[in-house]
């Protein structure tokens, strides 16, 4: 018990890093994903193509590779090369990667909406933006909540990849303590922390689904 009290401090610090990474990634990648989804189905062929290539690249290579690339390789690229500190570098990789996944979820959601909804809005005089904002996207949100919830839970665990940039998130902290004290307890504590985080997320999304799913189709 006393041992737990001793390691809980650093582990909470690690959790904070994990949570910070998680929240900032979610807040930035959801809107970016939506923009990419709209680009993916736009009337402009070049835009659809470019977005398709982007999504292919980001979903087709390991997230770990992307992390390493942004942190270690990006500084050496002529003109656009910048050297980012560890947190922003990891953030860029996570946001770009998760936006690609969210884009595909949103795209599928938007395309699952019946054509009659667009036509109903059009004959009432709504333009593209009004139709999307008021008619299509509210219905899309309700339909994509389950897959978005899935991705979100995956992200909580994916944040542990930032150990490769030597950032002290929850898992890296736990591992450091394990190696120092020769006990596996920190691993169990870390598992508990992750489970609590995903539990809260699950509960949160359940509530969202209840709230936005009051109408059934």
């Amino acid at each position: 018990m006393q041992y737990l009290g001793m390691i809980i401090g650093p582990m909470l610090d690690g959790t904070l890093v994990t949570l910070k990474m998680f929240f900032v990634t979610i807040i930035l990648s959801l809107p970016l994903g939506l923009c990419l989804a709209l680009a993916r189905i736009s009337r402009f062929k070049w835009l659809r193509g470019a977005t398709g290539v982007y999504i292919w690249l980001l979903r087709g290579t390991p997230l770990m590779l992307q992390l390493l690339f942004v942190y270690f390789a990006l500084p050496f690229i002529p003109y656009i090369g910048v050297r980012l500190p560890d947190f922003p570098a990891a953030l860029v990789a996570f946001v770009l990667n998760y936006a690609a996944y969210f884009a595909e979820i949103f795209r599928a959601g938007i395309q699952s909406i019946d054509r009659g909804q667009y036509e109903g809005a059009k004959v009432l005089g709504m333009n593209y933006v009004q139709t999307m904002r008021r008619i299509i996207l509210p219905q899309v949100i309700c339909r994509v909540l389950p897959p978005v919830s899935n991705e979100t839970i995956t992200l909580v665990k994916d944040t542990s990849l930032i150990y490769v940039l030597a950032m002290n998130d929850l898992l890296r902290t736990a591992r450091a303590i394990v190696q120092r004290d020769f006990t596996t307890t920190p691993f169990l504590v870390a598992a508990g922390f992750y489970l609590v985080m995903t539990l809260v997320l699950t509960w949160f999304f359940q509530r969202l689904e209840k709230r936005y799913g009051i109408y059934d189709e």
């Binding site: 036509e119 109903g120 004959v123 009432l124 005089g125 009004q130 219905q139 109408y215």
Partner: protein, 252 residues
Amino acid sequence: MKMLQAIDIYKRFQNLEVLKGISLTLEQGEVAAVIGPSGSGKSTFLRCLNRLETIDRGTIQIEGEVLVAPGPDGRSRYVPEPEARRICGRMGMVFQQFNLFPHLTVLDNLIEAPVVVKGLKREEVIPEAEELLRKVGLAEKRDSYPARLSGGQKQRVAIARALAMKPDIMLFDEPTSALDPELTGEVLKTMRKLAEEHMTMLVVTHEMAFAREVANRVVFMDNGEIVEEGTPKVIFNCPTHSRTKAFLEKVL
């Protein structure tokens, strides 16, 4: 006044010519029923009028304003989109499949477009919307979601929703075809009421009784053409064309 004028409309899907030179004029307060066999292009014609489909050739004027007309090269040219939206705003449309917005309550279905498109205040539109719901007999459903309504109720909401934009012309594409037979009556009654208020209406329908009793004019379409048109009396009692006769024999 000519409310709607379509002149020599041509429309093809890939290599299927669906409309082959359709012309139709509607006067203020006229109720025209469009009848004809399946696949004859009735829906397509209606959808061309409010640019749910774009035409290949021809002219469409709404209340004297040009929506689309042939350009110098003979191909049809639409007016710019905001202009087209304004012109088509004079027409309301009711679909076979209702197309209500499932995430909005009945009242919000009616209010959405006046608020979003016309920029009116919610509070201003609510009394009018409630009045419309009373008119279609659904005042007590104002807070229900569409999923909770019967087909007939949905279609009446759809009619009220179109009316909430205060259109001068109403287009109906088989408004009762998706309904159980015992539910068609309530929708037809609502449409009859509208006709009595001198709404200009263009109704694609399989309801011959409605066409006979409510319409001033019956238009028979077959194979992308208007074969024959006239008063219900003439079309139903002494049609001149053999195609009209054959069709009516089948459906009556």
